[in-house]
């Protein structure tokens, strides 16, 4: 039961926040409660790294007899980094909100962040498909409710429903994987799924992350507050990425692997280019997720689930940092550089073990693509984190300190995860590939600076032909990838089929309906007699 202690702590905090909001107590008290609870949970998870609690299991969830589906939650080396990442992110969200305190302070929004993190925690702790299905559904409902409560434009509401639909499709894929596994007489836990079922788990994760098939339900980010928006945007992918690190090494049959790798690498290339050229880090957020998810899925397909874990952690920690990094000064730029180094995967940095999934000998074009993707991600991170941002001059002293502390905590947590998070996380990795990527990034940054005579972060899309070109290509690709064309095509065929169905309904429910029913009955009977008993 101790494994669910963080979930209980955060649930209690949520109840406390709702009570405070109900009795209209000040936002300050709510903030203090959130930070205290977040810190306590963070410490609990840190302790649980060294003293692993036993799994929580509800084996007789349904009928008991004959049922293979049960609920198990476990904290292991695959789940701990994500759980720790989610709680660190939550803490950073609430603490960094101190910088925005005087403009908008709404305890219910911290409640919203808490809710998605609770859902995310349940998902990352899920050991069995049933637990994962429940947790995913929960987090999807939370996200949908928060988005529908927050966004105002009709188009964005529709996008929220479409995104929910894609995630529901992911859940259906898990169910199908369960059935495939059951047909083979296997699969009580995610790790024990056979390859023919594992492929569906991979598709499920890909669908939820927008990578398989590549789709972008949110071309424009919904206008949520920075903190809540970051919590939602990071928690949902984290809950999907954790699945990759639980997969067996041979998740995809060899015959399918090249196609998966092609799709994911293209998605990653597209995501990384758009991330680099995005207006700012918030506009680039969906692309950041797609690019890193592409790296993680690629690693899983190549049989390196641990590498997927490293990239998932990088998405959560480094992404969390840059998306919360609104107000900036010199000292914090130093912290940003530390976060950037964490992302490079250089030897003994947090993402070092991730390179084992990106570059696999014998060296191939795929490896080059992944190095390129990583370089572009690094370049984008550098560009967005070094841009001027908001000033910290007008912030009160305590707010400045707490805001900075929140961001520092996130970066430290990433490094802690990199050192202690999982077996072989603190490693040399693939030193030459990581060095090459970091070097290419620096060369790229300097070249752009030399070419334009302006620092990288001041580049505007309209002022350089290269960025204009990339922007246009990206925009065209975006139009293809948001799948609006597909929906229009779907609606076209839908209308045709609808007419057919209406026509058949008219016949069957009309005056001759009973006779038609008898004709259909004769057809069924003759079919049955032809097939005979089985």
């Amino acid at each position: 039961m101790l494994v669910l202690l963080p979930v209980f702590l955060l649930t209690l905090t949520l109840i406390a926040l709702l009570a405070l909001a109900r009795f209209k107590r000040g936002a300050g008290l709510a903030w203090l409660v959130s930070v205290s609870a977040g810190l306590l949970t963070w410490v609990v998870l840190l302790v649980q790294l060294f003293i692993r609690p036993s799994p929580f299991s509800l084996t007789e969830w349904y009928l008991g007899e004959g049922a293979t589906t049960n609920l198990v939650f476990q904290l292991d080396q695959s789940s701990w980094p994500y759980a720790f990442g989610l709680v660190s992110l939550l803490l950073a969200v609430v603490m960094s909100d101190a910088s925005r305190f005087e403009f908008q302070a709404n305890p219910l929004e911290w409640g919203g962040s808490l809710v998605v993190v609770i859902g995310g925690l349940l998902a990352v702790l899920a050991e069995t498909p049933l637990a994962l299905i429940f947790a995913w559904t929960l987090i999807d409902i939370f996200e949908l409710v928060i988005l529908l409560q927050t966004v105002e434009h009709q188009q964005q509401k529709q996008q929220a429903v479409v995104a929910f639909g894609a995630r529901l499709a992911g859940i259906m894929m898990i169910i199908w994987a369960v059935l495939v596994s059951r047909a083979g007489g296997q699969g009580l836990t995610l790790a024990s799924f056979p390859p023919q079922a594992g492929i569906f788990l991979l598709i499920a994760a890909g669908l939820r992350l927008g990578v398989i098939p590549l789709h972008l339900p949110y071309r424009e980010e919904p206008r949520l507050r920075r903190g809540l928006g970051t919590a939602i945007r990071m928690a949902v992918p984290a809950s999907s990425l954790v699945l990759l690190s639980r997969l067996p090494p041979t998740v995809v049959p060899p015959v399918w692997a090249p196609y998966f790798l092609l799709f994911t690498s293209l998605a990653a290339v597209y995501g990384s280019v758009r991330w680099l050229t995005a207006r700012d880090e918030l506009a680039g957020r969906p692309y950041w997720i797609i690019a890193i998810a592409g790296l993680a899925i690629g690693s899983a397909v190549r049989g390196r689930p641990v590498a997927a874990l490293a990239w998932g952690a990088a998405m959560l920690f480094a992404g969390g940092f840059i998306f919360l990094f609104s107000a900036r000064n010199r000292a914090l730029w130093g912290v940003a550089i530390l976060s950037w180094i964490g992302l490079t995967g250089l030897p003994f940095t947090p993402a070092a073990s991730g390179w084992q999934g990106l570059v696999v000998l014998p060296f191939s074009i795929l490896d080059v693509m992944y190095i390129l993707v990583h370089t572009l991600l690094l370049l984008g991170f550098l560009r967005h984190s070094l841009s001027p941002g908001l000033t910290m001059d007008k912030m009160e002293g305590w707010a400045k300190a707490v805001y900075s502390l929140g961001l520092v905590l996130l970066v430290i947590s990433h490094w802690l995860t990199g050192i202690f998070g999982w077996q072989s996380s603190f490693t040399v990795g693939n030193w030459w590939a990581s060095a090459a990527s970091a070097l290419l990034c620096l060369v790229g940054a300097i070249s752009i600076w030399l070419y334009t005579q302006r620092p990288l972060q001041q580049l505007e899309g309209t002022q350089t032909w290269l960025l204009v070109f990339i922007e246009k290509i990206g925009s065209a690709l975006g139009k293809i990838l948001n799948l609006n064309w597909f929906y229009r095509l779907g609606v076209f065929f839908f209308r045709i089929l609808q007419r057919l169905v209406n026509f058949l309904t008219l016949i069957l429910e009309g005056e001759g309906g009973i006779l038609w029913a008898l004709v259909l009955l004769v057809l069924i009977v003759s079919f049955l007699l032809q097939r005979g008993p089985q």
Partner: protein, 463 residues
């Protein structure tokens, strides 16, 4: 005193009293809810097979009662089922008031409930066919209040349900003949064909289900779904009786593939037809058809687990359909119950809209909702026989979920900044209760479902 007197006699008596009082809708409503809760509590807590200690004296309660030479038996195995049926009856009759169902709904609905209990109890079970027909006839004034024109859907309902009875009765006669002459194959064929046709008419099995969308869309959806569900439950219990009684039926080579084929056809066609609908009342009917299809698929497993799933489905289906039809009827009081008409209602009637989604997605087998555990378990068992048996039901479920998303898009389509809650307090009470129960059942199925599985204790051969 006997158990059939308590759960058949008293409800019948009460329904007669309520019929007399039917103009006093408030009084009728209170009595119906209170009495259903009482019957449910009695079913849960009265000990079976021994006298009840009332302090001053011991009140013996017999399990059986003889009426006109027929025995009605309600033993321990039936009690949990009865309890849950009457508890759900309280919800339905309470909901009837909320959706302003016609005056006949509560008194005659009580009669239908009593007939359901009687059909469960009657020996020889063949007489249940007559009880079904009685229930069908009693339901006519509920579906079409006196003074209003009778619509085509009701006619078809009456025709199909009544057509079933002679087939079943003759099948019963043929079955008796088979028992006497097991070596006569022509008798066996006759019995099987007659039985299949009878149940096909009763359960609105493909291709005989066209009356259902007509009926539900032309009457009060809440009332219609109550009638259809009660009758279907009754008929499914009767089907268990047949399976239990006749070994030649249980061992028939053709029965289980036929059940699987027809069940799959019902699930898939209902799903596909749902996707293209605009009118949600018709969708309610298709979900009822789909549920019947899933029940047939559970029976097609031909093992005890299949029967367990089959029995457990009653509860999940009742509560989910109750929520779906209640919310739909409440919304229909404010707008046309179609996709266009529901635009923006999430911001006007949030609880009714969420309940509608809960019911609709629940019937699609969405996780966390009542039907999900049973669907998953059923699909698992189907796939362990062959993966091909599971794919079509999944497609049917996906179709309902897609339609659910269409409804969701419509519900959120509003530029209004203001948000209201136009539900009345009683509506909010029943909707919240239903929604909570649907979630509870989906998340903690083991708290509720084993009670329904005790129903199988009555059928000694189905193990």
């Amino acid at each position: 005193m006997s158990a059939p007197q308590i759960w058949i006699g008293f409800p019948l008596l009460l329904s007669a009293i309520l019929f007399v009082l039917r103009k006093q809708t408030g009084v009728v409503w209170i009595i119906a809810i209170a009495s259903n809760i009482l019957f449910a509590l009695l079913a849960f807590f009265l000990p079976a097979g021994r006298p009840v200690d009332l302090g001053l004296f011991l009140l013996p309660i017999e399990d059986s009662l003889v009426v006109l030479g027929r025995r009605f038996i309600l033993d321990g195995g039936d009690r949990q089922f009865l309890g849950l049926i009457f508890a759900l009856g309280a919800f339905w009759f309470g909901g009837g008031r909320v959706v302003q169902a016609n005056r006949n709904f509560v008194p005659l609905g009580m009669t239908v409930m009593a007939l359901l209990a009687a059909a469960l109890a009657v020996e020889p079970f063949l007489y249940a066919a007559l009880l079904v027909e009685m229930a069908v006839l009693v339901s006519v004034p509920i579906l079409s209040p006196p003074g209003q024109p009778v619509k085509q859907g009701l006619f078809r309902f009456l025709i199909f349900q009544t057509l079933a009875m002679p087939f079943i009765l003759i099948a019963g006669w043929a079955a008796g003949a088979v028992e006497a002459n097991p070596a006569a194959p022509h008798l066996l064929q006759q019995a099987v064909v007659l039985l299949a046709l009878g149940f096909a008419f009763w359960l609105a099995v493909f291709p005989f289900y066209n009356w259902m969308p007509l009926l539900v869309s032309q009457t009060n959806p809440f009332v219609a779904s109550f009638i259809v569900l009660t009758l279907n439950t009754l008929v499914f219990l009767l089907s268990l009786d047949f399976l239990d009684a006749f070994s030649w039926l249980r061992s028939s080579d053709l029965l289980y593939p036929a059940l699987r084929l027809v069940g799959t056809l019902m699930v898939v066609t209902a799903g596909i037809w749902t996707v293209f609908q605009q009118d949600l009342t018709r969708v309610l009917a298709y979900t009822l058809i789909m549920e019947n299809g899933f029940s047939l698929l559970a029976l097609s497993l031909n093992n005890y687990v299949g029967f367990q799933i089959f029995a457990s489905m009653f509860l999940a289906r009742w509560i989910t359909i109750a929520l779906f039809s209640l919310s739909l009827t409440i919304l229909a009081q404010k707008t046309t119950p179609d996709i266009q008409g529901l635009q923006g209602f999430l911001y006007r009637m949030p609880l009714a809209s969420l309940s509608l989604l809960g019911g609709l997605l629940g019937m699609g087998g969405a996780p966390l909702l009542a039907v999900f555990p049973l669907r998953l378990f059923l699909l698992e068992n189907l796939s362990s026989a062959s993966l091909a048996y599971a794919i079509w039901p999944i497609i049917g479920m996906a179709c309902i979920l897609i339609f659910g998303l269409r409804v969701l898009v419509s519900l959120v389509e509003s530029d209004q900044k203001t948000r209201r809650a136009e539900e009345t307090r009683s509506q909010a009470f029943f909707l919240t209760g239903g929604l909570l129960f649907v979630f509870m059942l989906g998340i903690f199925p083991r708290w509720f479902l084993p009670s329904f599985q005790k129903l199988l204790e009555t059928f000694a051969q189905l193990k």
